[in-house]
């Protein structure tokens, strides 16, 4: 039986591991706006994303005081200040180590990490890949605007080859990374794409990602009206001419008959074929843009696996591991097993 470190009351492992769910309707998404005024450019897709995050939080009714929103550095990085939950605006490229460290320590926190495409896929790429190798139960939202917004519009790693948005003096001669394919290849267990101005789809996707037990990635296409004059709001709302006539630019994967969810994670054949299909879908060169879940699989989380290696975690969450007596403040750890090999 663990003890709540704050209230010093006993709590079950279940209680110590799950964010409290409030009664439906107790908090509206508008109450999840902090009193800081967002200073993004007018028309910036970031407004839509933060809105959707708030809606997803309200939809799930997760306790904001047991939720922590981590961000990287960039225009997107400011998001944590605009949300009424614990907020942590970390370092450029390092949002994942922070978020993962917090979640591993205190599994009771619902942890959402968010940041720019430069932040996550440029400087943060090492953590991006390695986070996939540990299926820790957090959600990671990438604001994909194809530019480094806050430093004035340089190419981000998702900018297309030879593309030249107005902020670039010369065309981009780097090939883009594909965040979806990268995430699937790295071991993320939930990989989805949405669009900043599709409020409903985005909120629903975020809600599914947060509800997913494991490492979830949501790649959000985000217009940056100031620097990216190629993939603008207009671009996304301009219909596409197809063989079946004029169709909206974006479409929902499930409506198109694609299902990236693995039904039986123990069926290796299903897993491998779905994984390959998901990668194929991620690479699909089409004029339209598919939104939805590209890949999802339920697997043991890192937290679960840790319990095999560290038996004490079958009883306590890490932050609740007892190490002192709150009355006397005396340490309670018996060092004997550690001293044995040295004793004379």
């Amino acid at each position: 039986m663990a003890t709540n470190v704050l209230t010093e009351k006993p709590m079950s492992l279940e209680e110590a591991s799950t964010t409290l769910k409030m009664a439906p309707g107790l908090l509206k998404s508008s109450q999840l706006k902090s009193d800081v005024h967002p200073d993004w450019c007018p028309g910036c897709g970031d407004f839509g994303i933060v809105n959707a995050v708030q809606q997803a939080m309200a939809g799930l009714q997760i306790a904001p005081w047991e939720t922590m929103f981590f961000t990287g550095v960039g225009c997107s990085g400011k998001s944590s200040h605009y949300i009424n939950s614990y907020g942590c605006h970390t370092l450029h490229g390092r949002v994942l180590p922070y978020a993962l460290g917090a979640k591993l320590s205190n599994p009771k926190l619902t942890v959402v990490a968010a940041g720019g495409d430069g932040d996550g896929l440029g400087i943060g790429m090492c953590h991006f890949v390695h986070a996939g190798r540990r299926n820790i139960d957090i959600t990671y939202v990438i604001y994909n605007n194809e530019v480094y917004g806050l430093t004035k519009g340089q190419a981000s790693p998702t900018l297309a080859f030879k593309s030249q948005p107005k902020s670039l003096p010369l065309p981009n001669i780097n090939k883009p990374v594909n965040p979806l394919a990268m995430a699937i290849a790295s071991g993320y267990t939930f990989v989805a794409r949405s669009y900043a101005y599709d409020a409903k789809h985005l909120a629903a996707t975020l809600q599914a990602a947060i509800a997913h037990k494991g490492m979830a990635l949501v790649d959000v296409l985000q217009p940056c009206p100031t620097y990216n004059d190629i993939h603008t709001k207009e671009f996304y709302s301009t219909p596409v001419q197809t063989s079946s006539g004029e169709l909206p630019r974006t479409y929902k994967l499930d409506e198109a008959g694609y299902d990236g969810r693995v039904q039986n994670p123990f069926d290796e054949a299903e897993v491998e074929s779905k994984r390959l299909k998901a990668i194929e879908r991620a690479y699909l060169k089409e004029e339209r843009v598919g939104l939805g879940v590209y890949w999802q699989i339920e697997m043991a989380t890192y937290g679960d696996l840790l319990k095999d290696n560290l038996p004490l975690l079958q009883e306590y969450t890490p932050i609740n591991l007892p190490y002192y007596d709150p009355k006397t403040m005396k340490p309670t750890t018996d060092l004997t097993p550690g001293l044995e090999e040295f004793l004379i």
Partner: protein, 619 residues
């Protein structure tokens, strides 16, 4: 021959041939016999094949350093005698395998006694007795060399048995008998050589046998790890690097404490995950060495501006760059104090011996949480990898200090909660409130009704970004006031120690791991008629300027001793106190300073007024 209270023993061989285990066995056996041991380990950045050696000293009283001369060199292969033979003193001894080592080809003192041991004969005999293949028994060569050494030193094999039983437990307990069999044969073979009593360096017995289980044969890395465990550190991140990885391996070998030891993709992840963990209220730390500290500079700064109690142990090794990765140095003092762009408060501590390693392992978390600021602890390879017989740690006096943590004012009412409760539950809190001491009450995320934010940007009291000049001034000053608080709040003996007489003719100044050699040297110097005392500084930042000034102002001849090129402590002292230490003793070969070197250097300075003495001993 009079028996000796102090002898110096060495064993060597290619990396991977058991030099380490031999030394551990010897150290434990001698400790079981009641002696006190100190040993240093030297090895290349290599897994197998390059020459490595262990240099140990055994004394009837506690010792903390080596002396350079070797009284007894024990070898079981050919390279060690040729590399180290010349280090054996007159009347010293060499134990060797006559099959591979030809003493006539060695560069050794004429008077050195030669003790050939037929390693193969012993092994073959064992093979016959047990029916095992001789190749499988080759590993007992170490035991043979150790047992032969004990015979020559006049120490009974009972101690060996005790040591083996301590080393081989559980599944490996059956190895005790095999090794004892080898040891007995080696002991007998030595006795058969005869006249062992004539050896000039036989050990006197200890006068008072220490109580069983009252002492430890310990290395610094494990001492740090144990201190951390006692402190409640349950999150240790790392990216493996020599020599800090030894602390991590020790922790990983003890899953029973429940501590998460997380091997990460790089040091950037390691330090930032510590920040992410520590901000939740976990006691979290990482251990690294030079290159890792460079990479961690940015993350430490984030902890600084966000007042997060992250603990970073940096095990210094020979630099710069990859440098001398398995050798020791004390060249990251000024870097640790200035690491990270911009200005923020930090605490830098440097333990001088294994007890201080344990203490700093423990107290670093208290100070980090009390002052809500990152703590860097500077250990070094010499301290991490040395083997020493010490008294058990004092665990009784330890008290946890978590600093000023705000408890929730109320509890979530549960199902009956009203929208008003919900609003109260998401009330915000001035986590970074202006505070005279610089220390604002700290909230742990998860606390109801006290939301706050963090950011690497300058921020207001709630933690929101602020570029307002007035707020900036307030916050910057508030944070830096914590250094004053720390200097007041950290007990004096964690700041510095003046060892020896209050007044002396010579005052030695040092920090970190050179402590042992200097402490040991004090007695020798005294015997040589030099009245010296020793200021060992332990809190490197904030610096105990007043106390150091006071002590050094009344000192007559000041000598600064450290293992680096640019005399970093002397620089720091000049910077903080204005006192320009006229004599520095420096060593930058990556090999630790010995008692012998300290004594000689002090003699040189006192006799010749030398400004800078460069030490070079040790292979």
């Amino acid at each position: 021959m009079t028996l000796k209270n102090d002898i110096s023993w060495m064993i060597g061989g290619p990396q991977g041939t058991g030099v380490d285990s031999s030394a551990t066995l010897f150290a434990r056996a001698m400790s079981v016999a009641g002696y006190w041991v100190y040993g240093k380990r030297e090895y290349h950045s290599n897994i197998k094949g390059e020459h490595s050696y262990f240099h140990l000293r055994v004394n009837t009283e506690p010792v903390r350093s080596i002396i350079d001369p070797v009284h007894l060199l024990a070898t079981f292969e050919d390279s060690t005698a040729s590399i180290h033979g010349h280090e054996i003193v007159a009347d010293g001894a060499l134990i060797y395998d006559p099959k591979v080592t030809k003493p006539e080809h060695l560069e050794i003192e004429k008077s050195v006694k030669l003790y050939p041991i037929e390693f193969d004969a012993i092994i073959n005999q064992m093979a016959e007795e047990t029916g095992q293949h001789p190749a499988k028994l080759a590993i007992v060569k170490n035991t043979i060399a150790v047992a032969a050494s004990m015979a020559l030193l006049g120490v009974s094999l009972d101690a060996m048995e005790g040591a083996l039983k301590g080393l081989f437990t559980g599944r490996r307990a059956k190895l005790v008998d095999m090794n004892m069999s080898a040891a007995k044969k080696a002991y007998a073979a030595m006795e058969a050589l005869g006249n062992l009593e004539s050896f000039a360096y036989r050990m006197a017995a200890v006068t008072k046998m220490p109580e069983k289980n009252s002492r430890l044969v310990m290395n610094g890395a494990a001492a740090c790890g144990l201190g951390k465990l006692k402190a409640g550190c349950r999150m240790q991140t790392y990216y493996s690097i020599t020599p800090s990885v030894d602390e991590c391996i020790f922790l990983e070998n003890h899953p029973e404490f429940g501590a998460l030891v997380v091997q990460l993709e790089d040091e950037l992840a390691a330090v930032n995950m510590v920040n992410g963990s520590a901000l939740t209220g976990m006691r979290a730390s990482t251990a690294t060495s030079g290159p890792g500290l460079s990479l961690m500079s940015e993350g430490i700064g984030w902890a600084g501006i966000n007042e997060v109690p992250s603990v970073v142990f940096n095990y210094q090794r020979g630099g710069p760059s990859t440098g001398l990765p398995t050798r020791s140095e004390q060249a990251e003092l000024l870097f640790a104090i200035h690491a990270g762009h911009g200005e923020f408060p930090r605490i830098v501590m440097a333990p001088g011996d294994q007890h201080e390693c344990f203490e700093d392992g423990f107290y670093s978390f208290n100070y980090a949480e009390r002052y809500q600021t990152p703590v860097i602890v500077l250990v070094d390879k010499a301290l991490a990898n040395c083997t020493q017989t010490i008294d058990r740690f004092d665990e009784e006096s330890l008290v946890i200090d978590r600093g000023d943590i705000v408890k929730p004012d109320f509890e979530w009412p549960g199902e009956n909660a009203t929208p008003e409760d919900a609003l109260k539950a998401i009330a915000k809190f001035k986590r970074f409130a202006e505070a005279e001491s610089g220390i604002s009450p700290r909230v742990l995320p998860g606390t109801i009704g006290k939301l706050f934010w963090m950011t690497g940007d300058e921020h207001d009291e709630y933690g929101h970004i602020s570029e307002e000049p007035e707020n900036r001034i307030m916050m910057h000053e508030k944070r830096f006031r914590k250094l004053d608080a720390a200097l007041k709040g950290i007990p004096q003996d964690h700041q510095y120690k003046l060892i020896g007489p209050e007044t002396a003719d010579v005052t030695l100044v040092a920090w970190g791991s050179t402590k042992g050699a200097i402490e040991d040297a004090l007695k020798v110097l005294e015997a040589k008629g030099i009245k010296a005392n020793f200021l060992h500084i332990r809190l490197m930042h904030p610096f105990p300027t007043e106390a150091v000034t006071k002590i050094l102002s009344r000192a007559k001849t000041i000598i600064n001793i450290e293992s680096n090129f640019t005399a970093q402590l002397a620089q720091l002292i000049k910077l903080r106190t204005g006192i320009d230490i006229p004599h520095v003793v420096l060593k930058y070969t990556g090999r630790p300073v010995s008692e012998t070197e300290v004594v000689d250097a002090v003699l040189e300075v006192t006799q010749k007024k030398t400004g800078k003495v460069v030490l070079t001993c040790g292979h």
